[in-house]
Symmetry: C2
């Protein structure tokens, strides 16, 4: 007898561009707590499996942020892409201090598996995103297993780049907006890695996109958009380090620099169509 | 000597689709308090005056809601339309109870001038929107004085319809999403009108779109979109009463009914392009 599909709770569903924008929750065994995510099903999903594109959001965001602010459903409906928006960390963990900072703990999962107590108990975002969540999606939504893409913003841009470099072949298309591209050389990254991975810096390079490329990891051709009026560009993001590492290693990357644009969703919305088309072309 | 332009404070500005999404505040003499609003300047505004389209938002919303959620800047940039998003009521008025309900007081201005104390002191949204705000915009932004349109959602759809019917000729194009179309026959409207206008119902008809059309008021040809899964449709919105009044009076209206769509911004975003094109055609 086939095993029953893992349970999924529907929080809300909304008609949107001929498809459905939904929000869901499941009891995650990797995280050990309920986890939320959004799914946009394009109209084409009514007729059969479609490619699936997962967005990893930035610090302070939730599973709703991209769905509300990016304007991506219009393009996903035109191209027949499913959009998945996971929450950015475990929630309601009961861990003291999890809510104390906006750049560590809640809403700041950094898309890795923490090794340090107390975070290691629930902060297992990499295992959730690479194993449990895709299986859950395949059980409940018409997803093409051979056509998955990954993208994200800021902390989520870091997540998209590092997860793609760490799991070659899993995602056939990858892109990022304003990623934290060299986190071991950024205050956000140093704080997160020290907290989640410990003070021994030798463990950090395996979660730093620039270091991963230098060590020989590869990914599909990358599209990265960066605003030049981004207040975090020089100190936190450092895409020029990643670009240089890619050039040296022969990793294809297109880093587009946009004068005047800042770090927020008005920037993301302005270029989101280009990213969805980049993914659709690779996932066809 | 020419009078100085009334002062405007810039709260934030963000590059967006080649234009600028900004948020501003000014000391309103009509309201007697600072008022906030958003302006999206399309790229074409750098070269000269453009048509201006004002969005009136619904209950609980602010000047940011439409700018964040509707995805309208993309279309406004393509069509060369300026978008203005006023806040939905006075704020920080010090009036006891102004924050007590989500459907009256703060964020529930209903786009009229209150006649009843204590609301009459600051709740002068109609005077602000028809006089002071357009003058302020003309002084600070490249606005075509002869090309103004008005639209809105729910309470703001009521505002768009009633203000257009009460001020013929001021707006050359008008549309609405899920408007409160017959507020004297809706619990939201009855509560608001009793509070702002008093218990004498004879004063209410002048702020009810259906009653206004029945009394002979006219507006440009109207486009109205309504979701059929809207939880407020039957009790609060009642567009069928407005549609019937228009048919009887010869007021042109297109009421589009959309199966499956609810009351929120996923609905609005799905059809916003049609509205901007409706306005652009009239304002050219």
């Amino acid at each position: 007898m086939a095993a029953a599909a893992p349970a999924l709770e529907t929080l809300s569903e909304h008609a949107c561009f001929g498809g459905v924008q939904g929000f869901y929750r499941h009891a995650s065994h990797e995280i050990g707590l309920p986890m939320r995510f959004g799914v946009y099903r394009p109209p084409q999903a009514a007729d059969g499996p479609v490619p699936v594109l997962t967005w990893l959001a930035g610090l302070t965001c939730t599973e709703e942020t991209f769905a509300i602010k990016a304007g991506a459903q219009r393009v996903a409906a035109a191209l027949g892409l499913m959009l998945v928006t996971p929450d950015t960390s475990p929630r309601d963990t009961g861990i003291a201090g999890a809510d104390a900072a906006w750049d560590f703990g809640n809403a700041a999962g950094f898309y890795l598996d923490a090794t340090q107590a107390p975070w290691s108990r629930h902060w297992r975002m990499e295992s959730w995103l690479t194993g449990e969540l895709p299986q859950l999606l395949a059980a409940h939504f018409p997803v093409r297993a051979d056509a998955a893409g990954l993208f994200g913003h800021s902390m989520g841009g870091h997540g998209a780049l590092t997860l793609a470099l760490r799991h070659p072949g899993r995602w056939r298309s990858v892109s990022a907006f304003a990623p934290i591209a060299a986190p071991t050389q950024s205050p956000w990254g140093v704080k997160a890695f020290a907290g989640y991975l410990g003070d021994d810096r030798s463990a950090w390079a395996a979660h730093d996109a620039t270091a991963l490329v230098k060590s020989g990891a590869t990914a599909p051709p990358l599209l990265i958009d960066q605003g030049l009026a981004d207040q975090f560009l020089a100190e936190q993001l450092r895409p020029e380090l990643f670009e240089a590492a890619c050039r040296e290693a022969g990793q294809p990357v297109t880093l587009r620099r946009h004068p005047g644009y800042d770090h927020g969703y008005y920037f993301i919305a302005s270029f989101i169509e280009d990213h969805l088309r980049h993914h659709a072309q690779a996932l066809r």
